[in-house]
Amino acid sequence: MLAYTLKRLLAGLVTVFFIATATFAAMHAVPGDPLMSGKARSAEIRRNLRVRYGLDKPVLVQYGVFLGNMAKGDFGISFTQQNRSVNDIIREHFKVSAVLGLVALAFATAGGILLGAVTARFRGRLADRSILFLVVLGISVPSFVFAALGQQVVLALNRWAGTTVLPVAGWGTVRHLLLPALALGLGTLAFLTRLMRSSLLEVVHQDWVRTARAKGLPPWRIFWSHQLRNAILPVVTLLGPALAAITTGGFVVESVFAIPGLGRYFVQAVQQLDYTVIMGLTVFYGAFLAFMVIVVDILYGFVDPRIRVAKEAA
């Protein structure tokens, strides 16, 4: 197991290296000067800037410098937030995104499993249909509509109560988390609900479930240790990438709720062609994702002992 894990970590590093290289190449292939801001300026000012940010050197040299710094864990200074290092940006804002993402994912997972179980149990009945209706609404209306509507509800609530029951936006207390986590987790919740329903429906007819029922086990025991355990694999599969995506992809929700998370940097950096931030975030995201995938693969074995990822690979 240990050897397998180490091997996977090594492979993860190689993947990250390829991600970094591809992104570096793509970034330089995209037209546009990251230092151009539309202010009046002479060729001299532009040259000064290129020297300051090291863009006057050949691309291959820049790549070498980048790799050297990356090995040291240093991603340089942001081009747009000119006084902040990319490391600082990731360090400070990832904490925020991680908290928000974990809460949103916890909400989505718990809700998804619960609603999935309900819909599978009452398949074709009113509960199933009405949850399906909500799910469809949840995925065909973008999350920021819910965010905006949520804000309206909170506004009305605060006005009615005459005090701040829930904050409209901002960051800092547990109360600030509620609405954004809900908006952020909604899409995943909908997906997990459907996924859970579908895979539960596949196991209800399996022999071992019938056996358990024949043995006279109480329904909750059957659900808990026979059906859920077998049906949860797709959820586990998605959890890793979903966590990575949810903690970094909350751009819109962060903007609507004025949350100092990492998500906004992913979009801004590309739009502003902020070379150092693009590279730093991509490598960070790639590494995070690779790590989550390893965790999930190891979890597989625990969730379903029949899966032997490690043995096959070793």
């Binding site: 546009g32 000012i45 904490k95 936006a169 207390t173 004025a258």
Partner: protein, 536 residues
Amino acid sequence: MRSRILTAALAASLLASAGCTGGEGARADAGAKVLRLAMTEEPPQLDSTRATDSVSIFVLGHVMEGLTRYGPEGDIVPGVAERWELGERRAVFHLRADARWEDGRPVTARDFVFAWRTAVDPKTASEYAFILYPVKNAEAVNGGRLPPSALGVRAPDDRTLEVELERPTGYFLGLTAFATYLPVREDFYRARPGRYAADAGDLLSNGPFRLTRWVHAASLTLERNPRYWDAAAVQLDRIEVPYFTSDPATRYNLFKDGKIDLTGLDKDLLGRAQADRFRMRSFTAGSIFYAEYNHRPDRPTSNLHLRKALRLVFDPVEYVSKVIGIPGTRPLYALIPSWVPGVERPFRKEHPVPPVRPDLDAARRELELARRELGGRIPPLVWLTQDDPFTAREAEYFQYLLSSRLGLALKIDKQTFKQRLAKMSAGDFDVVASGWGPDYADAMTFADLFASWNENNHGKWHDDRYDALIREAQATAEPRVRIEAMAEAERILLDAAALLPKSEAGSIYLVSPRLSGVVRHVVGPDPDYTRARLLD
């Protein structure tokens, strides 16, 4: 079970480390006058020698003070300098004795010399270095041809600053209030290499407020600076910015919830503000919006008649009221907007231009001439634009306008910000939607936009008479000569339909009833809260 407890503990510790500590804290000092705001983003650069954007300049305008300040009527009033003598090629500023840094040491002329030298030093690579070019040798220093010490600014003693000018500059006094001209103290700057103004403790203030707390992208706190020489005039105890969001609807909701005291409205929020019955105010924002044509000879837009046809079919009044939809925005018919001063009265009052009314028949005649000169047919025009909702909507408005009225096809080329800039510089467009915000309150900030040497002349328009007139206006400080030259240059521009003027920006905003004394500036840090008051 154990795993569940572990998860809960993990979440709790993460919450704590991410600053979720509970409680709102800052309520301890009851009675303090605290202004709360939301900003679009956190200031990207508070080092005054390198700042370029409006958010940073807004913060700098509150924590720093230059030789002069922007007054309530857009005038220039004494700041650190209490008086000055302005000559053709020389200016002398006398600094007030009680100007202090926040640590109590006096602000001296050397602090200005250091800041200006730093700004033009090629190693600093300041984007706004060009704003110092009126100072002698600034351009040569910035180009690396002279050492920074050769810059034409001296401090014969602590309270006297002597500036030599490269050439007579009529608007030089207005520049001394600009962010790049703010002082920086050398020992403080050198003590934090590469970190000056990176955090709250790394910025040394000499203005009405000081930066006391800065949680990146989360909150910013400015506190009254008791050492400021005019501290008695500052009424606010603190300005807090607990929200950074680019979403105007969120800022509106925060205002409605009583969490912030001022917010701007975009077109989409005007209806809500009316339904909620807020008192709305409007002000002239100062920027102009226009379409630039590509004048390179291989482009159809290099044809005069085609450009005239486009101008005759476009109705700035309809555009302003229906497409922009923000009252206070004015139709633009020339290059210089209405607020710019002339010799005695506003420039536009001294040199009025008649509004251009759409005239379909005349437009079609011009188009026919253009078609003949362009060899029978006019290829589809490429309209370069950016990926934001307004410019996209505007491009579609023009697309239908040209196809339905003139039968001209318009290809909309939407690009992200940097790609659009790259295409503009490369001349890869026929028409591009442009805008320009003024750097100083003088017609020259607009007038030289189409000079052949200006990098913002993306369409490479070239006219020797225009260039000569701009040079003439730049070579003298005599107001009448300068204004006349610029007015003549503008006439040449309009006769050649070298650009398509669209609108002059206006803005609608809400102020909470308890806040008064907010000054809106066309040029410089806006809004200005330095003399604002809060009722209890």
